[in-house]
């Protein structure tokens, strides 16, 4: 159904991008633009949800990008989930960022907030893209907009990390472009269609080539091993950047891409017919286990969280590859749950750094006594992520494991279960050390600014609430089920 609303979802970020450099000299005004834009974007995306639940969703068609392919946005169930996640967390991260950069007196703040606005706008564009070319457009803008954030500190290490980031993401962009062009040549259309756009009569070699190129293109951002190396390196960015972009927007764009490619371009049936589903599932499963094991050995807290992210993202990839109603619903839901909980953990890490200057797990002994709210939220979020009922992590794992069993994929169910145990294994010692070791000697350690602590508490609480009431504040669970139904029902 044609409408201006999906296009309007991009406007707040666009306007913020224009106004922020203008207000560079007035920090409060500049930050106000980000906050207003984030709030406006949340409102627009929330307004898109009802139509996405009821039918194919609202659509905006803008100019033609190529003869026959338009710059088009469609707010379908899957897209609205990702857009809502990005928008809501943008609002919280902006509050957190203000506290963080001001407490540390960071340089280049205008550039920081500008790139944030553009990146989140691009993420919403990725979410609502109606065809592969629009998707690609916003995907590349996302890469380019996040680069200045990764190299923000401008130290030689940061610049090197930025180069690796670009090499991986723009390299994958090349593969993605090849896949998009090949799709046009093979299928004659680039529109996202639930169940896939490929003619059943397409040659298996073509399907395999298309699938390989497209999945390779999105798998780098989705941090599937062995393409994950950029993510731990990118942790050199300031923590709010790591939080939103690398736990939510950039990597979620990657797994979102995997869901789109598997569900709406190639189609689960075609994927299974050429046997590629198994390869993808195997890669995802290996990533889940290996990344969890790597997390066990990390001393730097952010790197530990990075490997945890790598592992958790492949929950979603595995769910997409298995393609049963349960796993697809669980995969979409896990996007939201993991995003909320992981951002909470990153917020904690940043708050700890601002308050104490400490980055290493080994230095966190007794911190919980001095920073009870922060570490309390960390404990809650960590347990929730590991799958403790009734929090959110448990709910998405329930769907994923249930879906895996119903599809007969016992090894996958086993991988999910063992990963939960590994999660506990690397999070538990942190929590225990923080609360049950003697507090550190410095007497003036205390909770940092409320601008930092409030988002920590809110996200951790949201993580629990999403488990109890998964359809608040946006109908996430229903939308996820709707998306799964669309993809599988089109058979």
């Amino acid at each position: 159904m044609p409408s201006l609303l999906p296009g309007a979802a991009l406007l707040p970020a666009l306007l913020a991008g224009l106004l922020i450099p203008w207000s560079g000299r007035a920090p409060n005004l500049r930050e106000a633009w980000s906050l207003l834009a984030a709030a406006a974007q949340c409102a627009v995306v929330a307004a898109l949800a009802p139509a996405a639940l009821a039918g194919p969703g609202l659509e905006t068609r803008l100019l033609d990008l190529s003869p026959g392919v338009a710059l088009a946005l469609r707010a379908d169930a899957l897209g609205v989930v990702f857009a809502a996640l990005s928008s809501g967390l943008w609002l919280l991260t902006t509050v957190y960022s203000i506290g963080y950069v001001r407490s540390l007196g960071e340089h280049a703040q205008t550039r920081y907030f500008f790139c944030f606005a553009v990146a989140v706008g691009a993420a919403v564009g990725v979410a609502l893209a109606a065809n592969l070319l629009t998707f690609f457009l916003f995907y590349e803008i996302l890469t380019v907009a996040t680069y200045p954030l990764v190299v923000h500190k401008e130290t030689p290490a940061a610049v090197r990390a930025g180069r690796v980031y670009l090499a991986y993401t723009l390299g994958a962009g090349g593969a993605l472009l090849a896949g998009v062009a090949a799709t046009w040549v093979v299928a004659g259309t680039l529109e996202f269609r639930p169940g896939g756009v490929l003619d059943p009569a397409t040659a298996p070699a073509a399907v395999l080539a298309l699938g390989a190129l497209l999945v390779l293109g999105v798998a780098v951002k989705a941090a599937v091993m062995p393409l994950h190396a950029w993510l731990p390196l990118a942790m050199i960015a300031p923590t709010p950047v790591s939080a939103l972009l690398h736990a939510v927007a950039v990597v979620k764009a990657g797994v979102f891409g995997v869901l789109r490619v598997v569900g709406y371009v190639i189609g689960p049936d075609a994927l299974a017919a050429v046997g590629a589903g198994g390869v993808l599932a195997a890669a995802a499963g290996a990533t889940i286990v290996l990344a969890s094991l790597a997390a066990l050995g990390q001393d730097n807290l952010k790197r530990l969280l990075a490997f945890s992210t790598v592992s958790q993202l492949s929950y979603i990839v595995l769910g997409a590859a298995l393609a049963t109603p349960g796993t697809l619903t669980g995969a979409v839901q896990h996007m939201v749950n993991h995003g909320t909980l992981k951002i909470s953990l990153f917020f904690c890490a940043g708050a700890i750094y601002v308050a104490t200057g400490r980055e290493r797990v080994s230095e966190l002994g007794g911190i919980g006594r001095r920073l009870p709210v922060t570490m309390g939220a960390f404990a809650v979020a960590a347990l929730a992520l590991a799958g403790t009922p009734p929090a959110a992590g448990f709910l998405s794992k329930w769907y994923l494991i249930g879906g895996a069993i119903e599809g007969g994929a016992w090894p996958a169910a086993l991988v999910y279960l063992s990963s939960s145990l590994l999660n506990l294994a690397y999070f538990f010692p942190i929590v225990v050390a923080a609360f049950f070791r003697p507090p550190p000697a410095d007497a003036d350690l205390r909770e940092p600014s409320p601008l930092l602590v409030a988002p920590v508490a809110i996200t951790a609480g949201a993580g629990v609430l999403l488990g109890l009431a998964p359809n608040l504040p946006v109908a996430f669970l229903d939308l996820a089920a709707r998306a799964a139904g669309d993809v599988l029902g089109a058979r």
């Binding site: 003869p67 500190k153 670009l166 723009l170 090349g174 090849a178 046009w184 040549v185």
Partner: protein, 499 residues
């Protein structure tokens, strides 16, 4: 009345202005810059009018002196020619406005000569676009070339040797082209493009035609700066005065490419360059070699203008590759790249010139602090760089998109891989430039970079900034509007083919 004479006016206006300029320079030196820029803008408007006329009324044919072809001289403006004319005159107009604002002491006492020569180059280039027969093409080619040899060397220094090398190689190219024309003339007895298109297929002398085509391709290839015939290019664009390089680099090679396309597709007919004929294969693979060689050579450069010169070699390769693939989509991509590359390269050379003027040099190391002292220039640099890399919605992405579609449609996987590899090379060398211009590495997190020497605000003057910003806007507009350009202008133009 003007509308009827548009093809010839495109040549006559800059030519007359070029002749008048030395007189004006002697009488009223301050008026020279305005006269030059004004003429270029007027020519650009004429080109736009010509394009509009062609779109509504079809190919325009102009008989000089009233003599009918094939005995008289004919000037032809067809859709693709009009497109190229608009690109060339538009970018040249921006370049001359930029030159008007470029206050380089080395050029101060040679303004009249520089201006006259640049207008001659413009006249030569537009003449090449509208020429309706092969010999006039040669004449206008040499007019443009000779004027460019001279204007490159106008400020002396290392440019002298670069210009000499260019004279030698460029004249070699023109002579080879002339030899090819000789073959065709003695085969068919005519030089008129439309007439040749009818007679060449019937003459039934495939080896002769192939030799002629090869000679003309090599000759024009030298002018285009395709690998391995690019030897003159890096030195010329590194040492020529900045406004001169900014004007020549984006357009000169393109017109030669257009001439080659016309010769191959209109004169020799579709039969010679389709379906993996030897010539098509050679073009496609030479283009591929250019893309890779130019990109790899650009990686190691420490001087921004030299880097841009090698980048031009690489980007010209895309155009040649599109000609070699020879189907409608690839040709549309090649012509779109003519537009996109002209816009991006002009913008980049403008930035390089402004940086050299304000920051003291054009080496990459000199670009430090550019983002603080020249923020608007840096913005233009970023937009143009993103277009070179191929980030949508900037224009550069879309020409690669069509080329990729063409290559995949013909199942030529290796060429598709080269197109993508070229994009990655562009990422590597452009991001080096961006790193130098936009980042100021610090030893550790708390160390602040030293204040820039020589004062803070050093932004380029308005006459330099305005063309840069206009081109940057044009890059984005060319990207967003590319579907219209392709479907309304390029695809119909390519289908028309012969004249």
């Amino acid at each position: 009345m003007i509308r009827d004479h548009l093809p010839v006016l495109l040549v006559v206006v800059p030519l007359l202005a070029a002749i008048l300029t030395p007189l004006v320079a002697a009488a009223a030196p301050r008026a020279v810059r305005g006269l030059t820029a004004g003429t270029a803008v007027a020519t650009a408007l004429l080109a736009l009018a010509g394009a509009a006329r062609v779109l509504e009324a079809g190919t325009q044919r102009y008989h000089v002196g009233g003599w009918a072809p094939p005995w008289g001289i004919e000037l032809v403006l067809d859709p693709l020619g009009a497109f190229v004319a608009v690109v060339v005159t538009g970018v040249t107009a921006c370049g001359l406005v930029y030159a008007a604002g470029f206050d380089d002491p080395r050029l101060a006492d040679r303004q009249g000569a520089t201006a006259a020569l640049l207008l001659l180059v413009l006249a030569g280039l537009t003449g090449m676009v509208v020429a309706g027969d092969l010999f006039n093409l040669f004449v206008f080619l040499e007019v443009a070339s000779l004027a460019s040899y001279a204007v490159i060397a106008v400020a002396g220094g290392p440019a002298l040797l670069a210009a000499f090398r260019y004279v030698v190689l460029g004249s070699l190219g023109a002579s080879l082209y002339l030899l090819g024309v000789a073959y065709l003339y003695f085969l068919t007895g005519t030089l008129n493009v439309a007439d040749l298109a009818e007679r060449v297929p019937g003459a039934d002398a495939p080896r002769l035609v192939a030799t002629a085509a090869g000679l003309m391709a090599i000759g024009l290839g030298i002018k285009m700066g395709v690998f391995p015939l690019h030897g003159w290019l890096p030195d010329v664009y590194t040492h020529a005065p900045a406004p001169v390089a900014a004007l020549l680099a984006p357009v000169a090679g393109k017109v030669a490419a257009y001439a080659l396309a016309r010769v191959l597709f209109s004169v020799l007919g579709a039969g010679i360059v389709v379906d993996r004929s030897f010539l098509a294969l050679a073009l496609a693979w030479l283009g591929a070699a250019s893309i890779l060689a130019g990109g790899v050579l650009a990686l190691r450069q420490t001087d921004l203008r030299r880097l841009l010169a090698y980048s031009s070699v690489s980007q010209m390769g895309y155009i040649v590759l599109g000609l070699g693939l020879a189907d409608a989509t690839s040709l549309a991509g090649a012509y779109l790249h003519v537009l996109n590359h002209a816009l991006m390269k002009a913008c980049l050379f403008f930035v390089a010139g402004a940086a050299a003027l304000r920051l003291g040099g054009a080496r990459l190391a000199d670009l430090r602090t550019m983002h603080r002292r020249m923020p608007l220039t840096t913005l233009c640099l970023v937009v143009a760089a993103l277009s070179m890399i191929g980030v949508p919605p900037a224009g550069g992405f879309f020409s690669k998109w069509y080329l990729l579609l063409g290559a995949l449609g013909q199942e030529r996987w290796a060429l598709a891989a080269v197109i993508l590899a070229g994009g990655l090379l562009a990422v590597a060398y452009m991001f080096r430039v961006l790193e130098h211009a936009c980042l100021e590495p610090r030893a550790d997190e708390d160390h602040h970079p030293p204040a820039p020497r020589g004062g803070r605000w050093a932004e380029a003057g308005p006459a330099m900034l305005a063309p840069m910003l206009l081109l940057s806007a044009g890059i984005v507009a060319a990207g967003l509007g590319n579907a219209w350009i392709v479907s309304a202008v390029l695809l119909p133009g390519v289908a028309v083919g012969g004249r």
